[in-house]
């Protein structure tokens, strides 16, 4: 059994070499541009750029779709729901019973769906191309976040992977005691609650032991050095620059197309 359900298989050589902070910067800038306006042009431009950058991930479209399909479903549902409920402006496209879609509502739906995907992809880029240890190094050394907090979070990230394993083990152990996932809905719900409680107990014990092991290695002192240096290179200027260009391009395109719709106005 792998203890690494959540430790991502990292791909994309180039982005892997970039500093996590520059990747975070690019993602934040793009996200801000997307959040500033709800319109389909800016979302489509961002999404188009993201898809164009896909080869950098070094992962096939099918492989990516397999990993992010819940996001695709969510985007589709969001688009459908918006199209159904948004203000009905423009010409009627479909009118069957309670289902009324107009040009205006469908455009809003598409905007929401595209926006959802465009917002989610930068996160996927970072997850797929960033080693958690490198991220912790960068956050502590470049952004000067407190090292206790950063390393604590890093260690707990590893524990989350182990929890998945513990959950499966607890399920088996309880089945062996006579409470499995069979019976009525009420029985199943109670079982699920019991297993969740068991998992919390195990998680606390596990975390306590890990904390002891860390403390026994001198963790928790005031000053600390770093074995690995987190550095910025020309690549990072590029990554941050691409982020800025995408954000600016999307905003400009939306303004020129007349779809710019600033959320605060």
């Amino acid at each position: 059994m792998s203890g690494d359900h959540l430790t991502p298989v990292l791909t994309g050589r180039t982005l892997l070499r970039a500093n996590p902070v520059s990747k975070l910067f690019a993602a934040v800038v793009i996200t801000l541009a997307l959040l500033a306006s709800i319109d389909w042009v800016s979302a489509a431009v961002v999404l188009g750029c993201e898809l164009a950058l896909m080869p950098l991930l070094g992962i096939s479209v099918v492989g990516l779709a397999r990993r992010i399909w819940p996001l695709l479903v969510a985007a589709l549902l969001g688009a459908y729901g918006t199209a159904l409920l948004a203000e009905k402006t423009g010409g009627v496209l479909l009118d069957v019973g309670p289902f009324l879609f107009t040009e205006g509502s469908v455009a809003a739906g598409i905007a929401v769906g595209l926006r959802g995907l465009a917002l989610a992809l930068p996160g996927i880029f970072i997850l797929l191309t960033t080693d958690p240890t490198d991220l912790a190094d960068a956050l502590a050394q470049k952004l000067h976040l407190p090292h206790r907090f950063v390393l604590g979070a890093l260690a707990s990230l590893r524990l989350v992977g182990l929890l998945v394993e513990q959950w499966e083990m607890l399920g088996l152990a309880r089945h062996a005691r006579g409470i499995g996932s069979d019976g009525s809905l009420v029985a199943r719900t109670r079982n699920l609650l019991g297993q969740s409680f068991g998992l919390i107990v195990q998680a606390i014990r596990r975390a306590t032991r890990l904390a002891t092991a860390m403390e026994a290695r001198g963790f928790g002192g005031g000053t600390r050095t770093w074995a690995r240096t987190s550095t910025f290179t020309a690549l990072d200027v590029g990554v941050a620059g691409v982020g800025l260009v995408i954000a600016a391009g999307a905003t400009t395109a939306a303004v020129l197309a007349g779809t710019w719709n600033f959320i605060l106005s």
Binding site: M1, L172, A173, R177, I179, G180, A213, R217, G221, T229
Partner: protein, 496 residues
């Protein structure tokens, strides 16, 4: 015996004066009235009954017992004349469980972690990392994933990780209790190599005396009532009949004095209860197969011991035989005698059907505790099966496993040995024909060990089939029956 060595300048000395520690929320002191002096460079084996406070002493020396809200201290415990908590990095502690000590994802980073915490300059950190990995004999790339190590390798990594602090005192808390025999020697030899180079002081806690008796130059036995029971050279302490008897009584594995077990070694078995043919087992649906093409029979009134190195797939095989994991390929069939009204595929049995037929005791007893009291734990299984629990039968089981005085206690508050007994008792409550145990003797002292073996022999005598995953050769010999050796993805069955 090792030749007396000149203490290295870096080695730490220890002194305890009337030292004691009581954990917050506990009435009794975990360790008390301790008076002790360890010279720099001494190699000490610390013994004592379960609950004598051995781990507490190690934690105290590691500086992990400190603040007032964690407990109450009396007397003084000093490392080089100062409080251990003020001597960060002077003592390095390795714990028992290889799985719960790994902090980071890559081998090099894991070793560097402690040096970083002590604010060692960067260039020196990597020198220390290389030296520490050399010392423990881990010849791996620095970016090797820590999850891909065997148990013995993980313990050597934990050792390397504390060596990076260049500690003057090395503290080992049952470092080999969870390892297979090869892993035990691997870790022991690495420790000796490290001590020979660094000259650090050593305090090791371990039930199994034979592993360490030849490499230490002093044995100290803690008294469960507080203070020291015996103290001296290994030959003197372990050679003295009075001390040997008292040690054995306290559950310590004294070389040449096997624990007294009741009943004879069980003989051949009866009818087949479960048969595996061309069975391939795997932990997860999509993951790799653990063991392939197994062919074996589980017989009533016979033991089947599954053995092999750490990570060979022993547990996976046993959990599959226990009806908990779906066979990847091949056949696992319950005989009509075992199946009764249920189908022949144990994996398809509902939970309530399973507990009447096969009981599986997990390595961590706590995973299987479901209620707030020992009495309710025992009644739980029968209630699942028949709606009520016969108090006479649960009473009998409690009596047999010496749990009667604990019926009102919370299972999580029991000692290690008591937890193990309770986890076996809960399974017996529904009278299964097959009992599966995963590493039942891990970290157990000699008393619990003997108790468990005696009980299992009685069960086998009564016609129960006992399937155990274990690397404990004494345990396998004591239960007799068939042995399945698992290694390299294949299983080899040795029948009696």
């Amino acid at each position: 015996m090792t030749p007396a060595q000149a203490p290295s300048p870096g080695a730490a000395s220890v002194s305890a004066r009337g030292w004691g520690w009581r954990h917050a929320g506990r009435k009794a002191f975990a360790a008390r009235h301790l008076d002790l002096d360890l010279r720099a460079g001494e190699r000490v084996l610390l013994l004592g009954a379960s609950g004598a406070g051995k781990s507490t002493v190690l934690h105290g020396l590691a500086g992990l017992l400190g603040s007032q809200d964690e407990g109450e201290q009396e007397g003084a415990l000093l490392l080089d004349g100062i409080r251990p908590a003020d001597a960060r990095g002077r003592a390095g502690l390795v714990l028992q469980d290889p799985e719960t000590q790994v902090v980071l994802a890559r081998v090099g980073d894991e070793v560097a972690f402690a040096a970083e915490n002590l604010a060692v300059p960067r260039e020196e950190i990597w020198q220390r990392v290389h030296r520490a990995l050399d010392d423990v004999g881990l010849d791996l790339p620095l970016d090797h994933p820590t999850t891909a190590l065997s148990g013995g390798q993980k313990q050597r990594l934990a050792l390397a990780a504390v060596l990076a602090m260049e500690p003057g005192l090395l503290l080992l808390d049952e470092p080999t209790a969870n390892l297979d025999p090869d892993g035990v020697l691997e870790v022991r030899d690495a420790v000796v190599r490290v001590l020979d180079r660094t000259g650090a002081t050593l305090v090791v806690v371990e039930h199994r005396v034979a592993v360490w008796a030849d490499v230490v130059d002093r044995v100290i036995v803690l008294d469960a009532a507080g203070g020291v029971l015996a103290d001296g050279a290994p030959g003197a302490v372990l050679g003295q009949e009075g001390t040997r008897a008292r040690l054995a009584e306290a559950g310590v594995w004294v070389p040449g004095r096997p624990p007294a077990v009741g009943g004879p070694v069980p003989g051949g078995g009866g009818e087949v209860l479960l048969s595996a043919r061309d069975l391939t087992v795997a932990r997860t649906k999509r993951g790799p197969a653990a063991v392939e093409h197994l062919a074996l029979d589980v017989r009533a009134g016979q033991a089947l011991s599954v053995t092999g190195p750490n990570g060979a797939g022993k547990s996976t095989a046993a959990l599959t035989l226990g009806g908990l994991l779906r066979p990847r390929a091949g056949r696992l069939e319950a005989s009509p005698e075992l199946a009764g009204a249920a189908g022949t595929d144990p994996f398809r049995w509902r939970s309530a059907q399973l507990v009447q037929r096969i009981g599986t005791v997990f390595q961590e007893p706590e995973h299987q505790f479901l209620t707030p009291s020992v009495g309710e734990e025992l009644a739980f299984g029968p209630r699942r099966v028949g709606g009520t629990a016969d108090p006479r039968r649960t009473g009998e089981i409690a009596e047999r496993l010496r749990l009667t005085h604990l019926l009102g206690a919370n299972p999580f508050t029991l000692s290690g040995g008591e937890k193990r007994r309770l986890s076996v008792a809960t399974m017996l409550a529904t009278a299964p024909r097959i009992l599966v145990l995963d590493e039942p003797t891990f970290g157990q002292d000699a008393l619990t060990w003997a108790e468990l073996v005696t009980l299992l022999r009685e069960l086998i005598e009564d016609g129960v089939a006992v399937v155990s995953v274990t690397h404990d050769a004494d345990f396998i010999a004591a239960l007799g029956g068939a042995t399945l050796h698992v290694a390299g993805g294949a299983g080899r069955l040795v029948s009696p």
